[in-house]
Symmetry: C2
Subunit: 334 residues, 2 copies
């Protein structure tokens, strides 16, 4: 019996500085016959994420081999009872049009009528869960408090803004990389104020946007933003550091530590880092909280969807350059 | 009626660098007649503390005026019903042999038979409370965990070591400024390992003293110690920063921020600063926990007691030079 052909992307070179399309190659692979316990998945959506930049370094993804990433798809052939044909699943064998998975490596998507499929990779996925954990478990945002989010137009940032609004935040301020993104944050994504961080010292912009100071800072970038936020935090303020920041360090180029770090003592601040993989048990809380708002349309997942598997590398590189607002996704098939 | 004379210390100059005895002057003052609601206290013990260094700067203590500080004494004359003659009280009008207080400015010492009076200024006072809050509220030390304490031979440090032992810490490591103090920490104060931080890189000493890494770091100094501790902390480790560190900053000479700060994300660490004045409600917990151990002799407050009010300035300057082990106190009268 003839087997289908999958189109896939391999990493073929490790970047020196910014990655380029030449670091990747598209390859065609014949899908082998399924073994017992396996299922073939036609991939529908793939996530491209900042952590993948780190995987391109030595010690990360192998060269000339299948890559990984979060993906949604539909089972089209099955020798696994738990993965019937037609089922929608989530798995990590991304960067290809067809994936062979086992039940251990794929999870059935919950039946969430009225929720867009792509939401499982955005506000209900790792980025939404990062924002949820940062706000509820790490910073423990209270109603009426003022929140500042850096990289606010990205996947975690836009999820954080929308979740914080629903959690009763008093004021939500975002920093982003262009005036157009800042306008989008306030006009469409529930932020009360937003600024382009290129517009002068961040401390000054923060003073204008939150003259009474901050209760919580959700840090995605470190550096100048962190220093300015420490300065603007009120007593007993909290800083939640998302995993994304860590990659700067492992890429050998960490941002400078804030010069005012010792204000953490004077103002009784709390800084806490977390990795979302340690908080996967929070997913049911997020679903319970958010699904009704997704069904009612009160929350619309903020996504930049690039169409077509042929553009997956472009989407990834564009995400690294900040060309997305909200979660960057690739639609592979309908 | 002739009034008694109090001997007092005033600040007469602000130091440029390290303070000296010439910055202070002893003065004799006639105690005025008591107004209604006032009591006269003969002071017995006074505390000298690191925060007082900061009070010597512009904006702190006034020149040529009464100073403040925690003091224990006995009421010897009273026009206040709540402060009967003979009562033992704690107040903040220190640096003098006799103080006029009101009931609002003085608190009766609880009747703790079998507990040494000076303990109210050491393990039951601000330093003991700082250690208690750091361990139980901020770092939330768990039984079996490994604790590292900097400035371990000081008031907060020795209290922290003794409290951590009683709280079930698995291993307690201290850093201090001399081999003699390090020996005292392990021989008399319940530390499992201690080192002189002058003996080579702190990271190396920590690796020897706690080869399996740290769960909690109680920071009193910042700088190299903080950087080494961040490196040695295990995943989900906690750093409690005591108020004393803050003074470096206000004195215009903060230690360098740690170059590995972003490991806080990679290892999901928590850094939290606190000021003990925000946690005075923890005092009853500390009393309930510690008083039985003080009565049984299982805990002996670690104090350096300097005898005589004439030596109060010497005691303060000696404390700044690290000449004490444990809490530095001055015995003014028996």
């Amino acid at each position: 019996m003839s087997r289908p052909t999958a189109r896939a992307v391999h990493l073929v070179a490790r970047p020196d500085g910014a990655p380029t399309a030449a670091d990747f190659a598209f390859v065609d692979e014949t899908v082998p016959a399924l073994a017992a316990g396996e299922a073939l998945v036609e991939n529908l959506y793939q996530s491209v994420d900042p952590y993948m930049r780190e995987e391109m370094e030595e010690g990360g993804w192998a060269l000339h081999a299948p890559l990984e990433g979060r993906t949604l798809g539909r089972v089209v052939e099955s020798r696994a009872d738990a993965l019937p044909v037609g089922a929608l699943v989530q798995h990590r064998q991304a960067w290809r049009t067809l994936s062979v998975v086992t039940a251990e490596r794929a999870s059935l998507l919950p039946d969430l009528a009225g929720v867009p499929l792509s939401a499982h990779l955005s506000v209900l996925g790792g980025t939404g869960l990062s924002a949820w954990v940062a706000l509820t478990r790490i910073a423990r945002l209270q109603p009426g408090e003022t929140l500042f989010v850096s990289a606010a137009a990205g996947g975690v940032g836009t999820a954080a803004g929308q979740l914080a609004r629903l959690l009763g935040a008093g004021r939500i301020v975002g920093s982003t990389g262009s005036a157009a993104k800042a306008a989008r944050l306030t006009e469409r994504l529930g932020f009360d104020a937003a600024f382009d961080y290129h517009d002068g010292p961040i401390a000054d912009r923060l003073r204008e946007a939150a003259p009474e100071g901050l209760h919580v800072y959700l840090d995605n970038v470190g550096g100048d933003h962190l220093e300015a936020a420490i300065g603007a935090l009120r007593e007993r303020g909290r800083i939640a550091w998302c995993g994304a920041v860590a990659q700067y360090n492992r890429l050998g180029n960490p941002p400078a530590a804030p010069r005012n770090l010792f204000d953490v003592v004077g103002k009784s601040l709390r800084l806490e880092g977390f990795l979302v993989r340690d908080h996967l048990d929070a997913r049911p809380e997020l679903y319970d909280f958010l699904v009704p708002h997704l069904r009612s349309g009160a929350v619309v997942p903020d996504e930049t969807v690039v169409d077509g598997f042929d553009r997956v590398v472009d989407a990834f590189l564009g995400m690294l350059r900040g060309e997305n607002t909200g979660k960057m996704l690739v639609r592979i098939a309908d």
